[in-house]
């Protein structure tokens, strides 16, 4: 199977004031097409830092991140922006644009990519259909529940047919019943649409659905399991 994401001896050091903090201390990871990987670990173990690096939102201090075979540390800001269009992000706090409707939020990545109005409207409606929110597409985020907002965020992440989905605690901010719906949706996307998924979670139920889990601690992957 084709390797979509590869991290080689990945290190990231932050400056917290004047104190250097080693968030990642040499992480190696490979994700194949169609994979469903859950990254687990306590707070401060480096999960989010790892996610930011494979999402091309940040650059490593040392080591290599290859996305679709491209070394992100060699890319400039513009090339990184182009690369991010091929990655679907889902955040813990949804991060929808409050003044835009659900449909406009889903259209946004396509607008940024320069798709025509007709194309993006059609696709946004299809995606909202997939996540089961077609009838709510003209509502603003403030008029949607947490679970609905997260489904809009998932639809948005899928807008540009990304190489993979990156999810940062997708069920971390919603009630358990709604979380079940999200887990079901994520599973369906992976199984039926063959979407590659990498997610960070504390939610054991979500982690159990993943094909593979890695456990992180103090900036290192300490355990890797295949479910």
């Amino acid at each position: 199977m084709a390797t979509i994401v590869e991290a080689v001896n990945l290190r990231k050091t932050y400056m917290l004031g004047k104190v250097p903090v080693e968030a990642l201390r040499g992480v190696n990871l490979k994700v194949e097409k169609g994979d469903f990987l859950a990254i687990l670990g306590p707070s401060g173990s480096g999960k989010s830092t790892l996610l930011n690096l494979i999402g091309a939102l940040d650059k490593p201090t040392d080591g290599i991140v290859l996305i679709d075979g491209v070394d992100i540390s060699k890319l400039n800001d513009n090339q990184l922006a182009d690369l991010r269009r091929r990655i679907g992000f889902v955040f813990q706090f949804f991060n929808l644009i409050p003044r835009l409707t659900a449909r406009q939020n889903v259209e946004l990545p396509m607008t940024i990519a320069g798709l025509s109005r007709d194309e993006r409207t059609k696709r946004a409606e299809e995606l909202l259909e997939i996540v089961g929110l077609r009838e709510r597409m003209n509502h603003k985020p403030s008029e949607l529940s947490g679970g609905e907002q997260q489904r809009v965020a998932i639809a948005r992440a899928l807008a540009n047919n990304p190489a993979f989905l990156l999810m940062d605690e997708p069920t971390g901010n919603i009630d358990s019943k709604t979380a079940n719906e999200i887990i079901g949706l994520v599973k369906k996307l992976n199984e039926e649409k063959n979407v590659t998924i990498i997610l960070v979670t504390h939610d054991q139920r979500l982690a159990k659905e993943a094909a593979r889990t890695v456990q992180m601690l103090d900036g290192l992957i300490v355990e890797e399991m295949v479910n």
């Binding site: 930011n52 999402g55 939102l57 940040d58 800001d77 513009n78 922006a81 182009d82 690369l83 991010r84 269009r85 992000f89 955040f91 991060n95 644009i97 003044r99 835009l100 946004l108 990545p109 607008t111 940024i112 990519a113 320069g114 948005r156 540009n160």
Partner: protein, 422 residues
Amino acid sequence: MNVADVLSYAFSAIKLRKLRAALTTLGVVIGIAAIVALLSFSQGFQNTITAQLQKGFATNTLIVSPRGGIGGGAESSLLISDTNIIDSIDNVTASVAIMQKTCFVNISNTIITINVIGVDFEKYRSIYQSTFVPAKGQIPTNPQNDSIVIGARLHDPWQNGTIFADVNDTVEITWMRRSDGLFQNKTYTGKIIAVLNEIGGFNVGGPSDLGVYIPISQAQEFFETNECNMIIVLLKDDKEATIEGVSAAIKEAFSNQVSVTSATAVLDIISAIFSNVEFFLAGIAGISLLVAGVGIMNIMIVSLMERTREIGILKALGMKNRTVLIIFLSEAAIIGFMGAMIGIFSGWGLANVVARLGIFGGGRLQGANQTAMATQISITPVLTPTVLIGALAFGVIVSVVFGLYPAWRASKLKPVEALRYE
């Protein structure tokens, strides 16, 4: 991201904070309105004066005055008979001497201080065929010595039909002169034989609505002098070569002891003064626009902080730095554009209201013993395309320039940090 999408995104951000956007725009509106009002008003003022001057001071005339210029301290003198010398110069059609003294004039038991002008009625009329024309009465070729011709404003000063002086009224003219250190009054009584048509505005040398005209022979006798204040010269045409040739010939004939002023030269001086005044006024108004610019910068920095997370999201979704910059600049440009458009309309309206109210309309003939002021001038503000486009461009440019720094900061935000921002 295409232009329409960028603009619509920027516009949606502005719409979200309506009051704030309105107040920011108001700053631009005030600045642009001030510029447009001042410039269109002063342009209108200049047009009025130029038109009035061209009317009262035809381009094919020259004014010869004693050295020192019009109204300047004269060292040399010009005699009434000097018209003979001027008439003999090539390309001169006619010339008329003008003698003018400030007198107390008693009309209908009201004493006003006004210039009494001695001219040869016939020659004067031959030069000012369209303005030295009676509305009432007759201007004879050989007038009686006590004949007086008055301007329209002395006839009906309040422009409401209340007649102040009319044909056949008697007028007492008193001239105060100083001789051997003593002030002496001289008075004679004349009779109004004609009232001129309304001329409007003011002019140099030509007939005026506030003029009191007496025959030159009477002026010579009453003022006890043969010296005149100026000689108006009518040329064959208003070609530059004619104006320059005759000017030079006159100067030569009087050994450079006289000044020769052409209408064109006066107009040039006036327009030079006006462009300075305009520049100064626009400068002051421009400062208020700079203040508006600082307001835009301030509000955009606040907006940048509030929207840090949004910028992080946009970047995570693949938006380029350049596009973030353009979105923020578009917001500034939209504010500038709207402000400038509203400003142009309100400035234009303001100039018209001021013109309508006649705040700068000049004085009217006042009560007894008051100096009569210039006749009323009506000003129509003029909005030239240059001012219109300039104001629009200036409003947008100032807004964009002050938006540059916040926009640049927004574009440079790191996605990870922006997303983490609370």
